[in-house]
Symmetry: C2
Subunit: 248 residues, 2 copies
């Protein structure tokens, strides 16, 4: 009874998020269907992150327990051949007995992309948030350092989540222009041991207030201290967000 770790990438545009739902096109739904076609099994899939509708992934990790005797190579090519063109199976690796992609994750790395220019984005328009007023990236980076460390992130959680604790540890907040020259794309990278519901998108919405000069650089630290969702900025739109990598 082998356990597998699947690494997948997807364009979230045409999905109602990760989690399977009746009558909706979901990432879990299409991966399950592909697995079933190849192995004949109806699998249980765990995911490192239940990404919302519109959110993308480069390195989402899934856990699956199977009776199938198919090897990694057969699973890789077979499942890829059955997936639609907006989901790619990137890697199939053997996992330890009992592997569970949600429980066993110890770190996640997200990137949020902002197209910061008056002109509309084009080829990447489904992967960026368009902010037309100029952003001060250095101010956003400095004020974002208040997030780093162990904090109660209750201010950065949307209603509707039921986590036992709102304490999380953030190891990196890094804000820089993308490497394209000239660059109109701002990258907001956030790494941590785990995230509350909409946490990255609320962090981004909060830092953008600083970047626009509407709030002082000291404000994000006050938002953390408030432990109240209404103290923070808006929730940035989902399509700018991408799950880059998960650590185990």
């Amino acid at each position: 009874m082998p356990f597998w770790k699947l690494t997948i990438a997807y364009d979230g545009t045409e999905f109602s998020g990760w989690q399977a739902q009746p009558e909706r096109r979901t990432v879990q739904g299409v991966v399950k269907a592909a697995w079933r076609e190849i192995t004949g099994e109806n699998p249980r899939l765990s995911a490192s992150s239940r990404t919302d509708a519109g959110v993308h992934a480069v390195g989402q990790v899934l856990g699956v327990e199977t009776q199938s005797r198919l090897g990694a190579e057969k699973l890789f090519s077979g499942i890829n051949a059955k997936l639609p063109d907006d989901v790619v199976l990137v890697a199939v690796d053997e996992a330890p007995v009992g592997f569970h992609a949600t429980r066993d994750a110890v770190g996640k790395h997200y990137r949020y992309q902002i197209h910061n220019q008056r002109s509309r984005p084009l080829l990447d328009r489904r992967q960026v948030w368009h902010v037309t007023q100029p952003l001060d990236a250095a101010a956003m980076h400095r004020s974002g350092q208040a997030m780093v460390g162990e904090h109660d992130f209750a201010s950065f959680q949307s209603a509707g989540s039921e986590r036992e604790t709102t304490i999380r540890t953030i190891s990196l907040v890094d804000i820089q222009w993308s490497k394209d020259q000239p660059s109109a794309c701002l990258w907001i990278d956030v790494q941590g041991d785990g995230f509350l519901y909409n946490m990255v998108r609320i962090i981004v919405g909060t830092l953008v207030e600083v970047g626009l000069g509407k709030r002082a650089e000291s404000w994000p630290a006050e938002v953390i201290a408030a432990r109240d969702r209404s103290a923070a900025g808006r929730t940035a739109p989902p399509h700018g967000l991408m799950l880059l990598r998960v650590e185990y």
Copy 2:
């Protein structure tokens, strides 16, 4: 009676190319409609390049002669507001009297993108050709230098074009991995004073034969000398091609 130079960008995926055609969605068609909504005029538009269905542009240049007294800023914001999300008006500049985007162009820069990895491309899947076998980029670059200079490119022209001469001057053929790290994306940049029908795509199809090791590095020079379309490689698919820039 001012003349304007419009610089536009588009995602060619959902267009039947540049040239207006009845019952088809074309770039010329949507730009004309936007212009008409803003100025009330039915404009004549010249374009530097009549890109084919599926081909993209970052810096396509259009020429238009108008009776409208609207200034550059009004045209810019008004037309952009009327364009669909897969066409962006990048710049509006005054042009000299009699400006014609096709006739007056003195140089064009195209880029062709190849996703060279076993895994399928994802977020950029509509802008890259997927070649699964490994390509030798250095061999392609070396053999591509045979194209540089003034040559008769009759071997690199699809049937159906009616140009007076098949002699063109290529100033640059540059093949390199994109700047992403790690990169699976090969950039084939070609600059010249003008191009025959499908010329860049046939150059790419020919150089890929060298990159795959199916042909010697000396072969592209022989293809030029043959002056016969059947001597060259296949026509690479349209969606990997992008018009980057036009010089006047």
